[in-house]
């Protein structure tokens, strides 16, 4: 698979480490009342869709950026690549 890095252009997927579902960005608040249930959900449960899947890839052998790759899990076609930083900010994760 070739991942079209937003800054570096096309890169072999071998340069990356796969982390998993995009929702791993959205770490729950450990101090909240519902933290136990929220962390069970966050750590262990997955949508695991057949089709478009937004997922985190780490460019370990490159610029060490985290990317959000939208990929079809049935065909391996890569539909969209974004910087995880931008996605996290748009989700309100960054201050």
């Amino acid at each position: 698979m070739i991942i079209n890095h937003p800054l570096l252009g096309p890169c072999d997927a071998q340069e990356f480490v796969y982390k998993g579902d995009l929702r791993l960005i959205d770490r729950p608040d450990g101090m909240a009342e519902s933290a136990e249930a929220a962390f069970l959900d966050y750590l262990y449960l997955r949508e695991n869709p057949a089709g478009a899947h937004r997922e985190l890839w780490f460019h370990e052998q490159g610029d060490r950026s985290w990317l959000v790759v939208t990929r079809n899990t049935v065909t391996h076609e890569i539909l969209k690549v974004e910087l995880a930083r931008d996605v996290a900010r748009s989700m309100g994760r960054s201050r």
């Binding site: 998993g20 695991n48 899990t73």
Partner: protein
């Protein structure tokens, strides 16, 4: 009809005109006591043991395509019980014992061959870990034998004993491990179940569950509604997709694992070998091809095919261990979809929905587990209690902190 040496000779002398289809092709009835979704090894084994050992009646197995067309036909056919943890080892040893009597039990030649499995040791730390694992196996009634470098060399002289980076220092052997003709397992269980009155319904895709007041009343299928007292799901690889129809999310990701077979060779490899420094395992089929595999590709996939980097990695592992492979041509490469669970161990449990039971999360160890998985799932379906060897395979182990993590990798499915 019962298969025997006599029946083979009789048919040979009469032009093979007496063979009958090994199972029926029934139309679905409107209601069954127990419906199993998934006509793979685990689903068919479950139906077989439900009928045979637990005396249940009115059972159906629903299969989207043809039986045995999924992972039971795509694996590398290895059986073994060399696990370490208490939650796992009794279960896998139970499975190996069932393999040992399987062919006589269901009267079908599954070509169970206990040719032994050898896990190679390449460092002092690995030897310590393997001794510990071997002791855990022996404590649970399995067999394990630590081999020195010279003993390994006598049995497998063609391995690379000159590898300076990953020297072979010995191995942990399980002599009762081996290989089985994988398709014949599905066919044998299907035939056995069919003879006990189980309806095996192929080309029947489940499209939804009918759940009323927290109870599962049956399944919607491409061949109409089928009512059921209990529904058991055994569809590893597609577990998340099927259980999503019941509104459940699972602690599972689907990943692709590739397997390989070479052109046929004369007998070269007596048993199953695994490389301890990389990820490579290999055996020789009775047809002569070397059957081998390695790591999963590592990203979520439902594609039933992988990519080239893993093929290269597996080939490198093979060459590092077994340099003679270099001139052998690869015949086929294929992929299967694994239910990779969050701790690398399976789930056989009730769900929060009455009458809906789940069996899945087998990672890439499902084939060897087929008989015990079927037996334990049948036990759960018939008695509502987990089988004594499968009490740890619960949904709530993640919540309660009782993970069964053989490799100690944590909740990262692509590392198990």
């Amino acid at each position: 009809m019962r298969y025997s040496g006599f029946s083979v000779i009789k048919e040979a002398l009469t032009g093979h005109k007496g063979w009958r289809p090994a199972w029926r092709e029934p139309d679905p009835q409107p209601h069954y006591d127990i419906v199993i979704i998934g006509g793979g090894g685990h689903g068919l084994a479950t139906a077989y043991y439900l009928a045979k050992e637990f005396r249940q009646h009115r059972i159906a197995v629903l299969e989207k395509g043809w039986i045995g067309g999924g992972n039971v036909g795509r694996n590398t056919t290895i059986i073994r019980s060399n696990y370490m943890l208490d939650g796992n080892e009794p279960f896998y040893e139970f499975s190996l014992k069932l393999w040992e009597g399987l062919e006589q039990d269901f009267n079908y030649n599954a070509m169970v061959s206990q040719r032994g499995i050898l896990n190679l040791i390449h460092s002092d730390a690995q030897r310590d870990a393997f001794i510990r694992r071997g002791n855990a196996m022996i404590l649970n009634g399995a067999d394990a034998e630590l081999l020195s470098r010279d003993q390994v060399r006598r049995e497998y002289p063609f391995l690379n004993f000159n590898d300076a980076r990953f020297p072979i220092q010995g191995g942990l052997a399980q002599r009762r491990g081996g290989t089985v003709r994988h398709d014949a397992v599905a066919w044998g269980y299907a035939r056995g179940a069919d003879q006990l009155g189980v309806d095996i319904i192929q080309n029947c895709e489940v499209t939804g569950f009918r759940i009323e007041n927290g109870k599962c009343m049956g399944v919607e299928t491409s061949r109409g509604f089928i009512g059921a007292g209990k529904v058991g799901v055994a569809v590893a690889g597609s577990s998340s997709r099927v259980m999503a129809m019941a509104g459940m999310r699972l602690p599972i990701e689907s990943h692709v694992l590739q397997a390989f077979v070479t052109e046929g060779l004369k007998p070269v490899l007596p048993g199953v070998i695994t490389f301890g420094a990389g990820h490579f395992y290999c055996s020789q089929s009775d047809k002569g091809g070397l059957v081998f595999g390695g790591d999963i590709d590592g990203y979520n996939s439902y594609a039933q095919r992988g990519n080239l980097p893993v093929i290269e990695d597996v080939a490198e592992g093979g060459m590092a261990l077994f340099p003679g492979l270099g001139r052998v041509r690869l015949l086929r490469v294929w992929g299967g979809i694994m239910d990779m669970s969050m701790d690398g161990s399976p789930i056989i449990d009730r769900t929060h929905i009455d009458g809906l039971y789940f069996n899945g999360g087998w990672c890439y160890g499902g084939f060897k587990a087929t008989p015990a998985s079927g037996w334990c799932f049948a036990h759960l379906l018939a008695t509502d209690q987990p089988h004594p060897t499968a009490t740890a395979y619960r949904f709530d182990r993640f919540e309660r902190g009782y993970m069964i993590d053989e490799k100690g990798m944590g909740a990262q499915p692509n590392l198990h």
